[in-house]
């Protein structure tokens, strides 16, 4: 068992931190002249490896014998070369750059720098939100990027009549509401953002702003409370405002009631548009009704939780969280011709009969468009 006596600690004399008895230290080796390394001595003095690493500054040191690799019984590197170990750094960098190019396009360097700057601004709190708490940068960069693949690949979203959305100035987009969870609002926001190049500012129920997390998110993505004051403030500020006047009656209706418009609130949206003189753009959304077909409700649990309804769909709560994946229905969003409100005399907003008439006109327009779109759509899923 003589072998047992010479078990070296560490790397058996390979480059690295050896036992120091057999190898000079790594520091000493790097200091040694480079030409000395590849040389192999055919006839070796047994004491040579044990020569202590001499002072590198001494003139006597650059004797090749003093620094040659000890005989470890393994085949040494081929003459004149060092075996490359691991992945070469250069190759690794090239691969990373290739991946970045693949992922972020040809101008990946500029985009990566921009992303870093964005992250830094976020961490420093050096960004702006408007009076309503809207964070335009975050919305464009993250929310829209997250929604885009869902809209394109999952819902195969088709947008029609985008030319009816004004390029600038205030306007009120009025839309039907459905789908148990208001995904249609998000999709309309995406359609407006991608096709009209503007931000749609949704008006939300007060329940949204009472809920933790949801309230924070809603304000971040540009929503505000659906009340006359906020709607008028946004519209007179030249924003494009989105409203879903059916509210929870629309999202929480049974699947058998699909594409039947519910009551359009109390017409407050028409009054707000009239006061600010902005056009109303009817918007009809087909496809949202099928994402979570609502077949039942648990009113007692809903009362307990303080929410308008607790939905039962064919997959929820049966499949648990998997039941929350929306069904891949085909979506069509059509923006109709604007209905002008600036021609009404001053004080028209305080004439309830006129407000009801305009509300009905908007509602009828959306209902008719829904029917037309349903005829156009040949298959609901695939």
């Amino acid at each position: 068992m003589s072998d047992a006596d010479i078990i070296p600690l560490g790397a058996r004399g390979e480059p690295g931190r050896g036992s120091r008895r057999s190898t000079p230290s790594a520091a000493a080796r790097t200091l040694a002249p480079r030409a000395a390394r590849p040389r192999r001595e055919p006839a070796r003095d047994a004491t040579a490896p044990q020569a202590p690493p001499a002072d590198p500054t001494s003139a006597a040191y650059p004797e090749p014998e003093a620094v040659t690799a000890p005989d470890t019984g393994r085949p040494g590197p081929p003459d004149g070369g060092v075996t490359p170990r691991g992945i070469p750094t250069e190759g690794l960098l090239r691969a990373l750059a290739g991946a970045a190019r693949q992922f972020m396009g040809e101008d990946w360097e500029a985009r990566a720098a921009e992303l870093m700057a964005f992250a830094r601004r976020r961490l420093d709190g050096d960004y702006e939100v408007d009076d309503f708490g809207f964070d335009a940068e975050l919305t464009s960069r993250f929310l829209m990027s997250a929604l885009r693949p869902i809209a394109q690949s999952w819902f195969r979203l088709e947008v029609r009549g985008i030319e009816n959305v004004p390029v600038d100035g205030g306007a009120l987009v009025v839309s039907n509401h459905s789908g148990t969870i208001p995904v249609d609002g998000l999709m309309t926001m995406l359609a407006v953002h991608d096709y009209a190049g503007r931000h749609l500012r949704p008006l939300g129920a007060d329940l949204v702003f009472a809920m933790p997390v949801l309230s924070e998110l809603a304000r971040r993505i540009g929503a505000t409370l659906a009340c006359g004051e906020d709607a008028e403030r946004m519209l007179s500020g030249g924003e494009l405002v989105g409203v879903w006047p059916e509210g929870f009656k629309g999202t929480g209706k049974a699947y058998s009631e699909r594409y039947k418009l519910q009551r359009f609130g109390r017409g407050g949206f028409v009054a707000a548009a009239m006061r600010t003189g902005v056009p109303i753009i009817p918007c009809s959304i087909v496809g949202a009704e099928e994402i979570y077909p609502l077949i039942g409700n648990i009113p007692s649990l809903a009362r307990l939780l303080g929410v308008p309804y607790v939905p039962i769909t064919p997959f929820f709560p049966l499949l648990g969280p998997a039941g929350l994946i929306p069904l891949p229905s085909k979506w069509l969003i059509e923006f109709g011709a604007p209905i002008r409100t600036d021609a009404y005399p001053a004080g028209a907003a305080d004439d309830p009969m006129l407000v009801f008439n305009v509300t009905d006109q908007v509602r009828e327009t959306i209902q008719q468009t829904l029917y037309e779109l349903l005829v156009r759509r040949d298959r609901v899923f695939f």
Binding site: D124, E128, F132, G133, S215, R219, T224, L225
Partner: protein, 345 residues
């Protein structure tokens, strides 16, 4: 023509600084400061009268000093050492006595009240921005907000009975200043800032210089009415904390009101009830009428006020890197402001 001005609550920094500014103003002849305790810093040029506004003595002060303008700055926003009863007593009864004295005085021609934007409350059903004619969705039931609402009610009654007196009501948002004791400053000075889990409120913070200038103008110029005073622009709390480089701990709303506030009291700090509401739901106030009717455009945005607060905090309390970033932002803002002034000329 000069004025004889009475400033109540001069032991508070805001009132002391305001009294000092008035003493230097050529349009003001005499400034009298009233409080139960003398102010900590010297107030040169201000006559200090030790009097309790909760007692009828204040009527004598008005008569003896020939006061024609009363600036009521004695409303305390948070109880001292948890003594809510004495706070309410001082805020409500003090204001009533003061108003009673003003009503009796034939000399008084102007009353400036500093109320608070907390009269609007903070709830999920609030509009994004409150204008002066809007009311709270739910009337404040306790604390400073209730005191302010009550005092505003008494002042409205006073204005009805004395239509010859010009009443200016300034609703101040909680000031953020490294040197002053205000609920917002105290809250943001905490080493570990509690926030309400799942909520990121919108905040507006006025700069102390803007508040003082508004108060000075309210005394010197005659503009009747109610005006919101807040910093232009809105920040969300998470953004403020990021800018300050503060650590925060999100706590559920129920804990925030219950256990959390007990812990804070034990640490000799406090988050008053109306601030707790604000920290959940946030509040924005419209300062259009301050700009257009009152005629003052605040010079510091909310963001600049937060930066100034950070720069003014004692070194060691915050990271130097954040302070340098804030200084750079403030310098950039100064530069653009100078350029704007130059281009206007």
């Amino acid at each position: 023509m000069g004025r004889n001005v009475l400033v109540t609550g001069v032991s508070r920094e805001i009132a002391a600084r305001h009294a000092l500014a008035l003493a230097l103003d050529p349009d003001v002849d005499k400034v009298v400061g009233v409080d139960v305790v003398p102010p900590r810093q010297g107030i040169d040029g201000v006559k200090f009268v030790r009097a309790d506004i909760r007692s009828p003595v204040v009527a004598k002060v008005l008569a003896v000093e020939d006061i024609d303008t009363v600036v009521h700055l004695a409303l305390q926003p948070s109880p001292t050492r948890g003594a809510r009863t004495s706070m309410k007593e001082s805020n409500v009864i003090g204001s009533m006595q003061l108003l009673a004295a003003c009503q009796r005085s034939a000399e008084v021609r102007k009353l400036v009240l500093t109320s608070s934007t907390s009269v609007y409350g903070a709830s999920p059903r609030d509009p994004a921005m409150f204008t002066e004619e809007m009311g709270p969705k739910r009337s404040p039931r306790s604390g400073f907000a209730k005191d302010c609402a009550e005092v505003e009610g008494y002042v409205r009654g006073f204005a009805r009975r004395r239509p010859d007196v010009l009443v200016t009501n300034l609703r101040l948002a909680s000031v953020l200043s490294p040197a002053w004791v205000t609920p917002m400053s105290d809250y943001l000075r905490l080493p570990l800032v509690p926030t309400v889990l799942g909520f990121d409120p919108r905040l507006q913070v006025p700069h102390p210089d803007d508040v003082l200038e508004t108060l000075r103008r309210a005394v010197v110029h005659d503009v009747a009415g109610t005006f919101n005073v807040a910093g232009p622009g809105v920040l969300v709390l998470s953004q403020v904390l990021r800018r300050l480089g503060k650590r925060s701990v999100p706590v559920p709303p129920s804990v925030f009101a219950g256990v959390g506030s007990t812990i804070l009291t034990a640490l000799r700090s406090e988050v008053p009830g109306d601030l707790r509401q604000l920290l959940a739901h946030g509040r924005g106030v419209d300062i259009t009428s301050l700009r257009e009717l009152f005629g003052y455009q605040p010079r510091h945005t909310s963001a600049a006020t937060v930066d100034a607060f950070l720069v003014g905090l004692p070194p060691g309390a915050v990271s130097g890197q954040r302070v340098r970033a804030a200084q750079a932002r403030l310098a950039g803002e100064d530069r653009t402001r100078r350029e704007e002034v130059n281009s206007d000329e």
